[in-house]
């Protein structure tokens, strides 16, 4: 089992003929993801990589293929519209890889999706992978392995680092979800915790947060009340200065709020084992008697 994506995922790639879109579509196809369609306006009728039909619009793509999920690789200034289009076309899950989506766009996108009960993962995220079953986005399949640890993270490469450590130590993953580094994102820690808690094949959860905002604190409270599975957590940015955006648009300590220290304290209060460094993930899982 897994969360959000699995063998039933039928994927449309928005921006399939672009540089990033085409590269990662090939990777997803290689991984075994059911990529059923691509969309690039004006390229309708073409075929990508000899097997994926390309359409002018999402409406056509979904009507023709019954796709239920889309992944967005279009440039940031078109990303919000790609999300609207996917929602209008009727997919239930949209994964937006694009980085640099204006936050004000997101304030309008979110109620649009909520009205239509569509889940968005991202933007500015590496996407999701359910090892052995489905990959949507850019997480390298080679570092993952089928298993029972659920991973959720605001980061990209730091997630790879942690997955890498897990896989090396024999801990496979049920699903890995990169929720994105922006201040406003479609799916947050709590959504993922709830899904992992409900997923019978997930036995433990790894949660990788960072400075900025209060999502980790709220997730910790949620976990204390609703999650029975062991959780191991990490917060990046313990040495970050306040008031500076650390790469991610959402990674900023405002005044005294959003520091790594307060997030780690919230984890501890909630019974979440706190990693001091990425490599600690393995020893903490072992401490919690999670089998590899």
């Amino acid at each position: 089992m897994s969360i959000f994506i699995d063998r039933a995922t039928k994927l449309v790639v928005q921006g399939i003929t672009g540089r990033d879109g085409s590269f990662h579509t090939k990777q997803m196809l290689e991984y075994g993801t059911h990529v059923v369609a691509g969309v690039t306006p004006g390229k309708g009728g073409q075929t990508f990589a000899d097997k994926v039909p390309v359409f002018d619009t999402m409406a056509e793509a979904v009507a023709a293929t019954g796709a239920n999920t889309s992944v967005v690789y279009v440039p940031s200034r078109f990303a919000a519209d790609a999300v609207y289009e996917a929602a209008d076309a009727g997919v239930r899950l949209i994964v937006c890889i694009s980085e640099g989506v204006p936050v004000l766009d997101m304030t309008r996108v979110m109620p649009y999706l909520r009205e239509r009960k569509v889940r968005l993962i991202g933007p500015n995220c590496p996407g999701a992978i359910s090892p052995g079953r489905c990959k949507v986005g850019i997480i390298p399949g080679s570092i993952c392995r089928e298993g029972t640890v659920g991973v959720v993270s605001r980061s990209g490469t730091l997630t790879y680092e942690v997955i890498h450590q897990l896989t090396r130590a024999g801990y496979g993953q049920s699903s890995c979800i990169g929720i994105g580094g922006d201040p406003i994102i479609g799916t947050n820690f709590i959504d993922c915790l709830a899904a992992f808690e409900a997923d019978p094949d997930t036995k433990a959860i790894v949660m990788i947060g960072e400075i900025g905002g209060t999502d980790e604190q709220q997730a910790a409270e949620y976990a204390a009340a609703h999650v029975t599975k062991p959780i191991v957590g990490f917060i990046a940015g313990q040495t970050a200065p306040p008031g500076r955006r650390m790469g991610h648009a959402g990674a900023i300590i405002s005044g005294a709020s959003g520091t790594a220290a307060e997030k780690m304290a919230a984890f501890t209060r909630a019974g979440i084992a706190v990693m001091k460094r990425p490599a600690d993930v393995v020893s903490l899982l072992k401490e919690r008697r999670v089998a590899a």
Binding site: D20, S76, R77, E99, G100, V101, P102, V103, L104, M106, T107, R108, M110, P111, P126, I138, I139, P140, I143, S153, R154, S155, G156, T157, L158, T159, Y160, E161, H164, G181, P183, I184, I208, E210, G212, G213, T214, D215, Q218, F234, A236, G237, Q238, T239, A240, P241, R244, R245, M246, G247, H248, A249, G250, A251, G255, A260, K276, R277, P278, A279
Partner: protein, 379 residues
């Protein structure tokens, strides 16, 4: 991107908000001429992207044009929190009956713009929030509808008792919200919003921060960027597509991905070192970026060791290796370098590096420990 006060004032004015007279000067003579034009007393205000400019001596009252010139002479060129003052704003002194605060911020939790007002204006709003939270009223705005008239009125009644001032404040808030949206803001505030003894409501100081992601589609706003008032290394990094933030330590870091870059800094600290910077070379593979990154890191004399930490995904390890070889070929490194690479094209990268005389590690902890050790030895 931060706007200067004088730029923010102009945007508010364009939105219809009443803003007192004022003009910007780059030299003491200009400041004097402006003060003369207004007649009477003026305030000379440093235009710099740093808080606490008042306490730092960057805001001075002048009784006449000559004194304005004298103040401008002192303020222009002064350094506030590491940034040099290049311009001053000269405004006539205002008769102030009351000072309030009005701001729009983007609230992450509610995923909405939030209007925040307080009758305790003129001071830092975070201080008000910490000491007298009852003096702040917050109202989430549905971005699909904007700030509705009745919402603005409700906020206005929180600030004032007299209907004309309530209406004036409500109008200003709606205009501020519009200016915020039109600028692609992540913050817009008026502090203080004043009333004059004759009952007028005016925006005395203005601050606007623009979401960098909005600049592509807002060339008019993007043109307001004043690179002269920013840290030159950060400007250079941004122009190369890197994110660089200067810190005070001795281990120069070059990482792909913001989360991993932060985690690398944290690990430097964990092993007893101090990071010299945050540097994210981003997701795309471009050897030229690595060259610029190395230039920026090595320009800092405090850097005693350089640490590369690359987890290849979209970023190809061989591209990074090529960048390192190119950069070090141009200018010989004066400090030791530790390279950790893993992921996409790792083997290829190792070969490239070894051919150029470098060695590469694959474990993050090992690499960080080594870099901290080398920086410590050099100190």
């Amino acid at each position: 991107m931060n706007l200067h006060e004088y730029q923010a004032r102009a945007l508010l004015q364009a939105a219809g908000i009443p803003v007192p007279d004022g003009d910007v000067a780059a030299t003491p003579a200009e400041a004097e001429a402006i003060a003369k034009r207004f007649g009477g007393g003026v305030v000379v205000k440093a235009q710099v992207h740093a808080g606490g400019r008042g306490k730092a001596g960057g805001v001075k009252l002048a009784k006449d044009a000559a004194e304005a010139r004298a103040h401008a002479e002192k303020i222009l060129g002064m350094t506030i929190k590491g940034l040099t003052v290049e311009k001053v704003l000269v405004v006539p002194t205002a008769d102030i009956a009351s000072e309030s605060y009005v701001g729009v911020i983007l609230d992450r939790a509610s995923q909405r713009p939030v209007l925040m007002v307080s009758p305790a204006g003129g001071i830092d709003i975070e201080e008000v929030a910490a000491t007298t939270p009852g003096k702040i009223m917050k109202l989430g705005v549905d971005p699909r509808f904007g700030l509705l008239p009745h919402q603005a009125m409700q906020l206005g009644f929180f600030l004032y008792d007299e209907l004309p001032q309530v209406r004036a404040a409500a109008a200003i808030m709606r205009q501020l919200y519009d200016a915020f949206v039109r600028a692609g803001g992540s913050l817009a505030e008026i502090n203080p919003l004043i009333t004059t003894p004759d009952g007028a409501v005016l925006a005395l100081d203005a601050k606007i921060v623009v979401d960098d992601n909005e600049l592509d589609r807002r060339p008019g706003i993007a043109a307001l960027r004043d690179t002269a008032s920013e840290n030159p290394a950060e400007v250079k990094a941004r122009e190369a597509g890197l994110t660089f933030i200067k810190l005070d330590g001795s281990v120069g870091c070059c990482v792909n991905g913001a989360g991993l870059a932060m985690a690398t800094m944290d690990l430097v600290k964990y092993y007893g070192g101090e990071p010299a910077n945050f540097l994210d070379i981003g997701g795309s593979s471009n050897p030229e970026k690595v060259v610029v990154a190395l230039e920026i890191i090595t320009a800092d004399p405090r850097v005693k060791a350089i640490l590369f930490n690359i987890f290849g995904g979209i970023t190809r390890c061989d591209d990074v290796a090529n960048g390192i070889v190119t950069a070090t070929g141009r200018t010989k490194l004066a400090v030791p370098i530790v390279i950790r690479l893993t992921g996409t094209n790792e083997e290829l990268a190792v070969k490239i590096l070894e051919r150029a005389g470098f060695s590469a590690l694959t474990d993050m902890d090992e690499a960080v420990k080594r870099a901290v050790e080398l920086a410590g030895r050099a100190a």
